[in-house]
Amino acid sequence: MNWVWLHRFGSPPYFYRFAGRWAPWLLGIAVVLLLVGLYGGLVVAPVDYYQSDVYRIIFVHVPASYLALMTYVWMAIAAAVGLIWRIKVAHAVAAACAPAGASFTAVSLATGMIWGHPTWGTYWAWDPRLVSQLFVLFFFLGYIGLRGAIEDRDRADRSSAVLAIVGIVNVPIVHYSVYWWNSLHQLPTLMRSGGPKMPMSMAWPLLVMLGAYTFYFFAIMLMRARAEVLRRERGGAWLREVLATPEARP
């Protein structure tokens, strides 16, 4: 297998230009999908026979929860690549994932609480799914805290990478918590074998919202990683060259 295309991303100048070129497009697609998905979910989709309009929070809650886990997987893989191959850009990507992931997790927990109150009858329950998702938030915050607490950049990279890798053990626990234990939280509607447990009129806005969140994540991740590369490479000869050409300025 030819890995040359992948190796190029390890080069700061290449990554810097790549991220600068693609991030605005990804963000634009995310905004369009977000508007379509929100309109579809909040206006077009029919009410649910059991929960009535309250179920509509699913269009914000499910993509946030899914992206929280996906972001964690990205962060852990980038951290592992950075740790094993000593690729600086990979550490920058991992560092860029953490705030985005923490935000997705916070949105997931907050919307879950808002949904839980009118349906379950409580904002919070000490339930396997809720607690394991709370751990995801702690891992993101712990990663950010650990990285910020160590002055030396290489040591910060390596220490926080180990924490990110350790935390990935929690990701399958979050997903399977509703199968492994008797949980107040319902089973997945979309991410399951045997097709979604909702008609297409409700599922399409949810899929569009998933796309919106995913594009948003990649846009934000590339922007933050680009800024991180810029910070790390300050004083580098290639950067002086790049900044000399007006259209490539950040």
Partner: protein
């Protein structure tokens, strides 16, 4: 792959395996205290009288009795094999219905009645428009108790 990189790869995999095994053992030892208990497990005598736990299952059809003039409510939690009678005093969530999922937090008394101090309604992962929900099936699950215009 250079020997150093291979060594680091094995180190990462080793950390992962170690943590996974440790977490698996920890979860295994806490197994009985995670999540709610269905009536069958409670009837089997796993929960001591007076010990706080979460009882979960379905609200048995026709079992809900309200005591007039009070907030006291009697109902039966069933998993279609065994059932536990429960008592709760307080305001119930809107989605608490007969033939619908419930999780009650509280204790068993010495008569085998579950004294709940919190009752939560559990809903499932199925969503559909009202017309579909009504016509789908009769006499089964919670579909025969349509929403009462709450929320």
């Amino acid at each position: 792959m250079t020997p150093t990189r291979r060594r680091r790869l094995y180190m990462v995999l080793g950390i992962l395996a170690g943590v996974a095994v440790a977490v698996a053992f920890a979860l295994q030892s806490f197994k009985s205290s995670i999540g709610y208990k269905p009536p069958t497990e409670v009837v089997a005598g796993t929960m001591a009288v007076g010990k706080r736990f979460q009882l979960g299952g379905m609200v048995k059809k026709g079992s809900v009795q309200r005591i007039p003039g009070t907030l006291e409510i009697h109902f039966v939690v069933t998993d279609f094999q065994n059932e536990i009678p429960a008592v709760y005093t307080g305001v119930l969530p809107d989605l608490f219905k007969e033939n619908s999922g419930v999780q009650a937090n509280g204790r068993l008394n010495d008569k085998g009645v579950f004294i709940a101090d919190e009752v939560l309604a559990k809903h499932d992962e199925n969503y559909m428009p009202p017309a579909m929900g009504k016509s789908l099936k009769k006499g089964e699950s919670r579909l025969d108790s349509p929403p009462q215009g709450s929320q």
